[in-house]
């Protein structure tokens, strides 16, 4: 194909208006250069290869550092037997319920704290005082109240997810430029319109940052909670493997949970990109 400029196979640049945007076009996501993506893949592979080689050469003891090939084989076996899936599903269910119970009320409270100085005055001292307490430290107290079953695990996860959600949602609202509230007021928007059209969308990028932290907290807490008095869950599997000195199974559990963590935070990031389309994502 040849166009008037004589360039083969290339389209002429469409005209730009005011030097920036082009009608009908959207800026595409900037792709990471290929060499950086290769590097991101190569470094972990090199580390794994070195590990495998040192075990095979007898430099490190295979009981403490089972070779990656054995860990992988163990994961495969656990997967085929269905044992791994059962543990993963048990953990994920706790994470999911705990996250929803903690992060959603947390985000809502944070939004109201950011918007209303009265709500902030009432809630901020308590939130600030409880925020730095390690939530694992509350587990015995929670088990005292709610027993040693699933409920206690879900509750400790909810408590852990609650705080990052509150604090970030509040910060998100406080960070909205006052001019947007003046515009809303000048346009005659009532409180509900202001909440749904200014407070929520304006704070959403920071709210999502809080949800990511909350999810990370939930993923940590579930494993910790499952170390104590649990028969199912990846945490329980890791603990049992430790008790019986089956280190390859212990590693298989850790690796599984690392993968789950990567996938779930990536899913949340994708959700964020769909919901917050107007924001420049990094």
């Amino acid at each position: 194909m040849r166009d008037s400029t004589g360039v083969i196979g290339r389209k002429a640049h469409p005209p730009t208006v005011a030097g920036t945007a082009v009608p009908g076009s959207r800026p595409s996501q900037v792709r990471t250069p290929i060499h950086r993506r290769l590097l991101a893949l190569a470094v972990p592979l090199v580390v794994l290869a070195a590990w495998e080689a040192s075990v095979q050469a007898g430099v490190v003891h295979r009981l403490f550092f089972p070779p990656p090939s054995l860990v992988f084989e163990t994961m495969l076996k656990l997967l085929i037997s269905g044992e791994l899936l059962g543990h993963v599903l048990a953990s994920l269910q706790r994470v999911f319920i705990g996250f929803l119970l903690g992060a959603i009320p947390g985000a809502l409270l944070g939004l109201s704290m950011g918007w209303s100085p009265t709500v902030r005055a009432a809630a901020e001292p308590l939130v600030s005082a409880l925020y730095p307490v390690p939530k694992v430290a509350l587990l015995p107290m929670i088990m005292l109240l709610f027993g040693i079953g699933d409920l206690s695990k879900v509750i400790v996860i909810a408590v852990g997810a609650f705080f990052p959600a509150v604090i970030n949602a509040m910060t998100g609202v406080v960070g909205i430029s006052p001019v947007y509230f003046e515009v809303a007021s000048n346009c005659g928007a009532g409180r509900w319109k202001t909440f749904t059209r200014v407070v929520i969308p304006g704070s959403l990028p920071v709210v999502f940052a809080g949800l990511r932290l909350a999810l990370g907290m939930a993923l940590i807490l579930v494993v910790t909670a499952e170390f104590v008095a649990a028969r199912t869950g990846v945490g329980a599997m890791i603990w049992q493997a430790w008790e019986t000195l089956r280190t390859e199974k212990l590693y298989a559990g850790v690796v599984t949970w690392a993968i789950i963590g990567l996938v779930s935070t990536d899913l949340l990031r994708r959700l964020e990109r769909r919901v917050v389309r107007w924001h420049r994502h990094t």
Partner: protein
């Protein structure tokens, strides 16, 4: 609509003590008059607009809207800084005031489209503001004000952040809009040429505390072309206003005044 401001004062309480932003500002506009307001920076021009808009309560004095029948909003403000919602598309931004008033979706999008067309943004309905230039975003802000068919249009240095060429283009576009869709306008600027080019009248404010220092009729007939900036009477008026403001700047700097 005629606007009357009577003895408006505004005192802010800051940690360093009281700041008198406005002190006894009194003026009135005629029907559909374009009034420019100039003054040294920090003289309370923005405060005056926000008091007139009802966004800030005056410490004393009154704002009166006389015969405020326009079939639309009482006032609409175009802000100095980027005030277009970044999370809404261009068309949703312009339709927002109508949405806030409960106008049906079809109707408000139709009106928003009409005004976006008039500021030359038809191809950009569904773009997000970050995909537009500063000048285009400010035009979205102007369309958002006009769509309300306000009795009074309040503009706070809407073109302050733009380069000279873009500013000239948008000034003409604004006058074009205003001449077919006449409103009473208060237009705050620090650009004396712009004040004279756009206004039927120029109100010159003093340095802090903000008072009215002079109230000057602009004698040039409309439509005006940018060439009038070279007219001898235009230049003379510009210098007269410049001297007034310079005196005020020197006074507030603790000079001779």
């Amino acid at each position: 609509m005629r606007l009357r401001c009577q003895n408006l004062s505004k005192v802010y309480h800051a940690s360093a003590g009281e700041i008198v932003a406005l002190a006894g500002v009194t003026f009135a506009t005629r029907e559909q008059e374009f009034v420019s307001i100039v003054g040294p920076s920090g003289c309370g021009k923005t405060t005056l607009l926000k008091v007139v808009a009802g966004l800030v309560a005056p410490t004393s004095g009154e704002v009166l809207y006389e015969d405020g029948e326009s079939g639309g909003a009482r006032n609409a403000m175009v802000f100095q800084e980027d005030s277009v919602f970044p999370w809404m598309t261009v068309i949703d931004n312009v339709a927002f005031p109508l949405e806030a008033q409960g106008v049906r979706r079809g109707e408000r999008l139709r009106l928003a489209q009409a005004y976006l067309g008039r500021v030359g943004l038809s191809p950009f309905y569904h773009h997000y503001p970050h995909e537009l230039s500063t000048g285009m975003r400010q035009r979205v802000g102007i369309a958002r004000a006009f769509v309300r068919r306000p009795a009074l249009l309040l503009m706070d240095e809407p073109f302050g952040a733009l380069d000279a060429q873009m500013k000239a283009v948008l000034q003409e576009q604004l006058i074009e809009l205003w001449s077919t869709d006449a409103r009473t306008v208060l237009y705050v600027t620090h650009d004396i040429e712009e004040a004279l080019f756009l206004g039927d009248r120029v109100i010159v404010m003093s340095g802090r505390p903000g008072r009215i220092q002079a109230d000057i009729e602009v004698p040039f007939p409309r439509p005006r072309r940018h060439a009038i900036r070279a007219d001898a009477r235009f230049v003379a008026l510009k210098e007269e206003i410049w001297d007034l403001i310079k005196g005020e700047v020197l006074r507030t700097l603790g000079g001779t005044g």
